[in-house]
């Protein structure tokens, strides 16, 4: 692996890759390469240690049982925590988002401890499952356009003082707390319920992760023709349901 490569770590594809989460890895990789960067992609299976030297860490969604197993294994592996202390960038989606909080509800209905990387905790919604397209307006400090995605979760995530909402929902459920928030973030750690995958629907978020990793404020332009067309179509479809 070249010293100059951007190291993209995909955590536990064997457990947390149920909803096209591989797409987030592929989009980061593609958009970094389009900017002339070397990329070293490191897939970490759940029987392998999480490296501390990654630049961007991606954690995907999964079923309830794999989520519990992933939480158990990540809690005894200091790798991700150390990486975050060193300033690494993390994006967790759905189950991956919940695992990064203080606790979540596991497949046996028990409260399971998370990693505490985000000041959030997750409970289970009463009966309603949030399934469908979602639109949200991101925290203005992030400089991102409207977020579009697909959500599919029963979990409800409550935010503490130590995080900000990633976005405000305009269509969909988001965190499910009834306050219109979606996702959470602090510094370089981001959590969201948006599948789609989120980075395929929102390439500006992929670029944000790359910019944070490189500590730069801008990247050379990339061709967004098809991303823009898809975004326009999904945003219009959600605003005017068929």
């Amino acid at each position: 692996m070249s010293e100059s490569a951007l190291r993209v770590v995909w955590i536990y594809p064997d457990l947390l890759s149920t909803y096209g989460d591989r797409g987030n890895v592929l989009v980061v990789e593609r958009r970094a390469r389009q900017r002339g960067l070397d990329v070293a992609r490191i897939d970490v299976r759940s029987d392998q240690p999480v490296p501390t030297s990654g630049d961007i860490y991606l954690i995907g969604g999964g079923e309830d049982r794999p989520q519990r197993l992933a939480g158990e294994r990540l809690r005894v592996d200091p790798g991700l925590g150390r990486a975050v202390e060193n300033g690494a960038i993390v994006l967790g989606v759905c189950a991956g988002y919940q695992i990064m909080g203080h606790e979540f509800i596991d497949d046996q209905g028990q409260r399971a401890p998370g990693l505490g990387l985000l000041d959030v905790w997750s409970t289970r919604g009463e009966s309603h499952r949030n399934v469908g397209d979602i639109l949200a307006e991101p925290d203005p400090r992030l400089g991102l356009p409207t977020l579009t995605g697909f959500e599919n979760h029963q979990g409800v995530t409550h935010l503490g003082q130590g995080v900000s909402p990633l976005a405000r929902v305009t269509v969909g459920g988001g965190n499910g707390t009834g306050d219109g928030t979606e996702g959470a973030w602090r510094d370089t750690v981001f959590g969201t319920y948006l599948h789609g995958p989120i980075l395929a629907r929102n390439p500006a978020v992929a670029d944000l992760l790359i910019k944070l990793a490189l500590d730069v404020s801008a990247l050379p332009p990339a061709d967004n023709t098809w991303y823009d067309a898809l975004r326009a179509e999904r945003i219009a479809a959600v605003q005017q349901p068929a």
């Binding site: 457990l15 149920t18 049982r65 789609g196």
Partner: protein, 418 residues
């Protein structure tokens, strides 16, 4: 009721309530057909079951029932088994893929002289249908991710199968190369294990029994944590031959293309053997099967040959990519996201579209823009089109492979019929 109902078979011996229900179902189906709403088998079954909730059980009593369930290949395999069993008796089957209780009831109501009922069952309904039909054999082919926004998750499905099949008297014909299927079948009393292969493995890295990380050296698989492992197969697919439990090899000569169908034929031969049909006879009969419900069918559009291929989920797409003509044959991709397809298109990112590099690719369907982004990231050259006709007009020479998911495939079939 007519004075002399013409079918003389089992329906003549049905209890009065069941007879009434069968007749009512046929009337409802005929009305639906006349109104141009399809075959009417589902509505007919619903009407019949409302009049006699035990009808499926009653109809199945006179039959040797075989159930076929899987994520992929159940329609084709049902057809292959039906052909093979015709060597031993008359077969009734839900050949057109109406695979939930109403459609199944409707199909069995057509039984006249039948000895066998060969029934494709939706994965989620296997427990219910198995309870009602007292099957002699159940074929379990594979389980992988499919329409996650509306169906249950794969491991939960395997667990559900396992719990519902535990006390079954049926012979279970199960794919030993699929850890989830093996988990579902391994608590059954009578299992025939078939080494039928598994191309898509992304749902099989986590041990279904204990959650350990599966090891997969070569063809084998095992969980180092709890010891759950691949059973010794009785039947196996080797190249394009079926190896039977005696170690004899029998060639498979299907008209249907692809590794997945060799796998389906192997499982079908194992099912046929349960009913005393010799594998050589069974496989010869399977040679007659051509396109099943339009799948793999070649059609001509503006003088060009177009082969219609159905791929509904990542495992199905992977199998389909292995059977298409090599580059530079043109490829058309069509994807919809209706409720029958699953409205979440995230699965596109679990499919290795990178395999299409070198093919001229045309994308269409309701979600062609999702495909466009997917292919852009995969580094595949593509053009976005509005219709099959437009793709055909633009395509360079060669047979055109048109791959579509469920409702997009139905749309393609309607389009080519004009």
């Amino acid at each position: 009721m007519p004075a002399n109902p013409e079918p003389a078979g089992p329906s003549a011996t049905l209890p009065p309530r069941a007879k009434l229900a069968v007749t009512a179902g046929k009337v409802a189906a005929a009305v639906s057909r006349t109104a141009g709403r399809g075959s009417g088998s589902v509505i007919g079954g619903k009407v019949a079951l409302r009049l006699d909730p035990d009808l499926l059980r009653t109809l199945a009593e006179n039959l040797d029932v075989v159930l076929v369930s899987a994520t992929n290949g159940k329609t084709t395999t049902t057809r292959l088994i039906a052909e093979a069993l015709k060597a031993a008796g008359v077969v009734v089957s839900n050949a057109l893929g109406a695979n939930m209780p109403a459609g199944i009831t409707s199909a069995l109501a057509d039984a006249s002289e039948a000895r066998f009922g060969v029934i494709e069952v939706d994965e989620k309904y296997l427990a219910t249908v198995a309870r009602d039909t007292a099957p002699k054999a159940i074929a379990l082919l594979n389980l992988s991710r499919d329409q996650l926004d509306r169906s249950s998750e794969t491991r939960m499905l395997a667990e559900h199968w396992r719990e519902s099949l535990q006390g079954s008297e049926a012979v279970i014909i199960a794919n030993a190369d699929d850890p989830l299927v093996t988990w579902a079948a391994s608590s059954c009393r009578k299992v025939v294990w078939v080494a039928a292969g598994q191309a898509y493995r992304e749902d099989a890295w986590s041990c279904p029994s204990c959650g350990g990380v599966m090891q997969r050296p070569g063809e084998d698989w095992f969980c180092p944590t709890c010891g759950f492992r691949r059973p010794q197969p009785h039947w196996a697919l080797r190249g394009d031959q079926v190896v039977d439990p005696q170690g004899s090899s029998w060639p498979i000569r299907l008209q249907l293309p692809g590794r997945a169908n060799l796998s389906n034929a192997t499982s079908s031969a194992a099912v046929a053997a349960v009913f005393g049909v010799h594998p050589q006879v069974a496989l010869q009969r399977m040679e007659a099967v051509q396109a099943v419900a339009g799948r793999y069918e070649s059609v001509f559009v503006a003088g060009r040959e177009v082969r219609l291929l159905l791929a509904k989920n990542p495992a199905g797409w992977l199998e389909t990519f292995t059977l298409i003509d090599p580059p530079p044959s043109p490829v058309v991709l069509s994807v919809n996201a209706q409720s029958a397809d699953g409205t979440d298109t995230s699965w596109l990112w679990d499919v290795d579209y990178e395999r299409l590099v070198g093919h001229p690719v045309f994308v269409m369907g309701q979600r062609k823009l999702d495909l466009a982004v997917r292919l852009e990231v995969a580094g595949v050259q593509f053009q976005v089109v509005d219709s099959l006709a437009q793709a055909v007009a633009m395509a360079p020479p060669g047979r055109i492979e048109a791959i579509a998911n469920y409702t997009a495939f139905q749309q393609l079939r309607r389009d080519v019929r004009g």
